[in-house]
């Protein structure tokens, strides 16, 4: 022991844990829903991104003969059947998953960065910064979300014709940007609220009193504690964004013509739903299950981290 402590006061050997006064929280076993959601999403992602190399998935434009007018029904030859042009619905669903997931994930990431940044700034500095950010958040929330996305996608098309530097902004990125705006407001809001309460916590005060600069306090002390909340909201947002992407595509604001996304698949085939239900129902089912899965995960995380949802 060191000189400053008399032996009698030396703390006893570090026991594994001070005798638990209360029963320790049991780690909850994942629910059936959670297992399903994770398995489904992992499987889907795997299929979507390795579709080109997997022998049992056709290319989306390969045609199968038969079933002249509506394509053939679900069966061994084509699991989800084929659509009116004879293309395999299963393959198109899987390739559609790739685009739908990509768009959703990119939009969420942009939303996370923008919302997180705005929220941390507002929560940490408060005062006029907070007022400005709050106005931005309120504006974003007040705009009818889908309408805004439609407007943006349309307008960007017009703008692109005159501005060449915007060429990188393909249709996919236009949709991503439009959707990311939807995700920003709720994320900024929950991050702001959490930052405000964390800011008053003593460990943040301690860091400030140690002479840490604001950026260091925000990113090293506060941000790590925000991760659970941000993740939770991100998963819920993801489900909404994927559904919105479907809605946009359904309205004709999908990716370039011919690129399958779930929304386009539904839109293309819905007129034939009475004769060839499979071509519409299966993409719908995929969309439904994906949205459901993200929601289950988001819900599970929020319960695990005990976070109230900030009106997504």
């Amino acid at each position: 022991m060191t000189a400053t402590l008399t032996p009698a006061e030396a703390p006893a050997p570090a026991a594994p844990e001070p005798a638990a006064a209360a029963p320790r929280k049991k780690r909850k076993r994942p629910t059936f829903g959670m297992i399903f959601a994770v398995t489904f999403l992992v499987g889907l992602t795997f299929l979507a991104f390795f579709a080109d190399y997997l022998p049992f998935i056709r290319y989306p434009d390969d045609k199968i003969k038969g079933g002249a007018r509506y394509g053939i029904g679900p069966g061994w030859e084509a699991w989800f059947g084929t659509e009116k042009l004879g293309r395999d619905v299963f393959a198109r669903c899987i390739y559609g998953a790739k685009y739908s997931l990509q768009i959703g994930v990119y939009a969420t990431i942009i939303g996370l960065i923008a919302g997180g940044f705005l929220g941390v700034l507002a929560g940490y500095y408060r005062g006029w910064v907070d007022r400005v950010v709050s106005i931005i958040i309120d504006c974003l929330l007040a705009i009818p979300a889908l309408l805004f996305a439609i407007l943006l996608v349309n307008r960007l098309d017009d703008v692109k014709e005159t501005a060449e530097w915007l060429n990188w902004l393909t249709r996919q990125w236009q949709i991503v940007l439009a959707l990311s705006i939807l995700a920003t407001a709720p994320l900024a809001r929950i991050v702001r609220a959490q930052t405000m309460s964390l800011r008053e916590r003593e460990f943040v005060l301690a860091a400030r009193s140690l002479g840490a600069k604001p950026a260091r306090v925000m990113f090293r002390e506060i941000l790590p504690s925000l991760v659970p909340a941000m993740l939770t909201v991100a998963f819920t947002a993801l489900s909404i964004l994927i559904a919105s992407e479907g809605a946009l595509a359904f309205l004709g604001l999908g990716l370039e013509i011919g690129t399958p996304t779930w929304g386009t698949l539904i839109q293309e085939n819905r007129t034939k739903i009475y004769d060839a239900w499979w071509a519409t129902i299966f993409p719908c089912l995929m969309l439904f299950l994906t949205v459901l899965s993200f929601n289950i995960i988001g819900d599970g995380l929020s319960r695990r981290f005990d976070i109230r949802q900030a009106g997504v």
């Binding site: 050997p13 594994p16 049991k26």
Partner: protein, 361 residues
Amino acid sequence: MSDLIQASSRDIAGPLLELTDVTTHFQTERGLVRAVDGVSFTLDRGKALGIVGESGSGKTILSRSIMGLLPPRGTVRGGSVRFEGREVGNLGRNEMRSVWGKEMAMIFQDPMTSLNPVMKIGKQIAEPLQIHLGMTKQNAWATAEKLLTDVRIPEAKRRLEQYPHEMSGGMRQRVMIAIALACGPTALFADEPTTALDVTVQAQILDLLGEQRRERNMSLVLVTHDLGVVAGHTDEIAVMYGGKLVEKAGTKRLFTHMKMPYTEALLQSIPKLEDPSHTRLHAIAGRPPDLVNPPKGCRFAARCAYATDQCVNEEPPLVAAADDPTHLYACWYPVGSPENDAAKERLAATPVSVGTAAGGN
């Protein structure tokens, strides 16, 4: 009427609360936590009992075991808890509901989290009265006002319309006491009721509890880590350590003739006003034992200044003092005994102290 007669005959028949070998264990990932490990004692009607110990001594779990306020999952309970002659240790939550409030009530350390932040104070007091005692709303609110007056809240009528956040910590604790008293319980359990409060408010709350106890002829169980808190406000004190009862005696007797070195150490660790400033405090080295693997001998042995091999290997039984059968203690070398004096001499002779023997970091 016959109920009343029965009730009063029960009063005479025996103690209000009788614990026999109560155990409460929790199943955790690390193993079985023996939070309360074989505690027996009795408490008479109208008496105040202090349960004293450090955090992790099992004092809170014990009081909750008596109340039946433990999480049902992973909890293993044993022994018997008799309340007014009736076994309550094995009752389920639904059956306990008729006992809570009317027979036993509890107040907690943090009055902010135990009150509903979005409900008016009046409603929080009146609602249980309407549900449990079947009062009309008007009656219940009138009773609520009287209760607030009883707990010395000024302007009771106006306070009924307030929300918890509009009150100070001391006021909220008073409201908690009013709620606990509402259905006229025969026993009140107070779990560290003043730890979150200022000393001045602490004094007020303790006085209030004592006053209400006497007025209502109610038993009080005061759970705390501070011997100073129980000294002036209890009739008896039970000291707990490592899930066991290690000493129990009348309050005066305990302070004048304490037997357990642990009780002595707890008392000595309190800074005394009379001592000049910078007087070195007698801290108890180390921490309470891990209750998953409690030591086989005396659980305090590792931190005890007088411990010997016997203490480490053999568990001392709970015995009564020779000159006072109500004074129980569990120690091989009780303070003031020849054995203890001998241990002190050994200590003086060998410079190696127990702190290092227990192994520093």
